[in-house]
């Protein structure tokens, strides 16, 4: 195992009370694997990964419990200096908005070389050569000239390529991509995803892909975790998840997607209600107030994310697939 996260809990002290952003998350990741984490805004996807790298400002944030074992070290208790040796070196991160994630005051060369100069101890000349090479690999034309440009001279897609080049400069074991395509045009999105996949194949880097876009997950990941209100509600291989969602929330997400094979004019079927207020999480299953399959047990007990007889893992008391079949039969 490359990374093993166990029972991670992160909370934030806000003016409106304590927000439990991540509420007992566990997952693991092998070398070279791609894991998707899907969920809507505010479900705790980003916080989970920022917490692993110690990038949550404390206060107001607080890591209440959990372990994150990375190559035998618990990242959550590692001294800051040790953690800095891992950040950008063994675990790298790219962020949602490439327009704001690069420093507007520094040239691309300055921003790329500082990573390898820091972690590899390279001299500037060597770091610069490597930076140009990385820019070429991510598809920046005329890289040796453009390396001296500032971020504002690049387009959004090009900036995200620069971010990827920067993240992969030290050949990390793990790349955390936090909504890497959300701020980009659809055509550019596909290019960036392809680039990440291609580089991943070449370098053997493991990837955690955080997104709210099920389409992105379907394209890139092998395994997916569905996150809702700070908890994982379902974990599955990507094909199985799309073919047979087992948690009502996953089912709701899939039903709310527009489909190509659907009749024109057919209405989308959104999930009823609103995501819960994280300062006041409902008792029992967090999804029960919005769940069409709710039974009496749901508000009283938290369903555990357990492995079922068909090797699927989901946190629900009800067999959604069975219920759905019954419903279809009843309606004729």
């Amino acid at each position: 195992m490359l990374l093993e996260v166990e029972d991670l809990r992160v909370s934030f002290q806000t003016d409106h009370g304590l927000v439990r952003a991540v509420d007992g998350i566990s997952f693991s990741l092998d070398r070279g694997e791609t894991l998707g984490i899907v969920g809507e805004s505010g479900s705790g996807k980003s916080v989970t990964n920022l917490a692993i790298l110690g990038l949550i400002p404390q206060p107001p944030g607080r890591i209440e419990s959990g372990r994150a074992n990375f190559r035998g070290q618990n990242l959550l208790t590692l001294p800051r200096r040790e953690l800095q040796k891992i950040r950008g070196n063994r675990i790298a991160m790219i962020f949602q908005d490439p327009m704001t994630s690069l420093n507007p005051f520094l040239t691309i060369a300055q921003q790329l070389t500082e990573v390898t100069m820091l972690h590899r101890g390279w001299k500037y000349k060597q770091a610069l050569d490597h930076a140009v090479e990385m820019l070429e690999r991510v598809g920046i034309p005329a890289a040796s000239r453009r390396v001296n440009d500032y971020p504002y001279q690049f387009s959004g897609g090009m900036r995200q390529r620069v971010m990827i080049a920067m993240a992969l400069s030290c050949q990390p074991d793990l790349l955390i991509a936090d909504e890497p395509t959300t701020a980009l045009d659809v055509t550019i999105q596909a290019q960036i995803l392809e680039l990440i996949q291609q580089l991943q194949k070449e370098e053997g880097t493991a990837v955690i892909l955080i997104t709210h876009d099920l389409g992105v997950v379907a394209n890139v990941c092998r395994r997916v975790n569905v996150m809702y209100a700070g908890r994982f509600v379902e974990e599955a291989d990507v094909d199985a998840l799309f073919a047979q969602p087992r948690h009502p929330y996953t089912l709701g997400l899939l039903n709310s997607l527009p489909r190509l094979d659907e009749q024109r004019g057919a209405r989308l079927d959104p999930i009823a209600g609103q995501p819960p207020d994280l300062t006041n999480i409902p008792p029992g299953c967090v999804f029960h107030p919005r769940c069409p399959f709710r039974i009496d047990r749901c508000p009283q007990e938290v369903p555990a994310l357990t492995e079922r007889i068909d090797h699927r893992r989901y946190a629900c008391f009800v067999d959604v697939q069975h219920q759905a079949r019954v419903a279809v039969k009843e309606n004729g």
């Binding site: 790298l53 990038l55 206060p59 800095q84 040796k85 891992i86 950040r87 950008g88 070196n89 790298a92 991160m93 962020f95 908005d97 704001t100 994630s101 690069l102 420093n103 507007p104 005051f105 520094l106 040239t107 500082e114 990573v115 820091l118 972690h119 500032y150 504002y152 971010m163 920067m166």
Partner: protein
Amino acid sequence: MGWFIIKRLGWMLLTLWVVYSVSFVLMRSVPGSPLSAERKVSPEIEQNLKRRYRLDQPLGVQYWDDLRRIVPHGDLGASLKIQDFSVNEIIAQGFPVSASLGILALAFALTLGLTAGIISAVRRGSLADFSMMTIATIGIALPNFVIAGIVIILFVFLWPLFPPGGWGRISNIILPAFCLGAPYAAYIARLTRTGMLDVLSQDYIRTAFAKGLSERTVILRHALRGALLPVVSFLGPAIAGVLTGSLVVEKIFGIPGLGVHFVNAALQLDYPLAMGLVLLYTTLLYVMNLLVDLSYAILDPRVKLH
């Protein structure tokens, strides 16, 4: 860049002319005359004095005569109140004094203000942040003469490290520079803190931390430039103000600077001296703001001068 500077200097000449004209009209519309003294002089003497200083000419003639004298040589004329001194001589004597005091005050204000501002922002909410910002607020709120009184009591009487006043030795300049610089230091500290907090919340700072850089590198290399921009804007007018002297500080410490003349020239209707000082201040302000714009272009690559 060169064209930009030439263009701005052209605008400066135009601004100076407007300032000259407005000041001329304003000064002449103040009731009273520079020659009205406590003791009544005979009409003949008054007439002679008026002729001597050309005050008997029509205003239009005075306006053009003064302008023609100032423009080619920068000759600001003779002071009406300070006997045997031309305005140029008064400025040549007072400005270096006020300017050296001002430069030291600014150096002190920048060192203290930037350090306090950065530390407060990085350790926001801490005791250090709270106490430094409290001191900064007090520094902005307290008038110069109160600060001067306090430091004189402390460092002249209780713990006699410095002389109470005078000019010419290094020890003379320390206390007045501190008093003059203290409000600026406080203001710079607040501006730096606000600017730094703003920058520290940016995405690219998170990126910098995610790269494994130490806090020190992130702050000095990635955050400081952006945080300095508001301070730089403030510094332009502040430098112009601080270099031309302060009446209060110069009076208290007995320093022969320009500050006193600013007030006296206006009160005594010393037309040439007041005009000279106004033009000096305008020029300084303009040049400093030009330097601010140039520093912006150096600090922020997105800023293009044209």
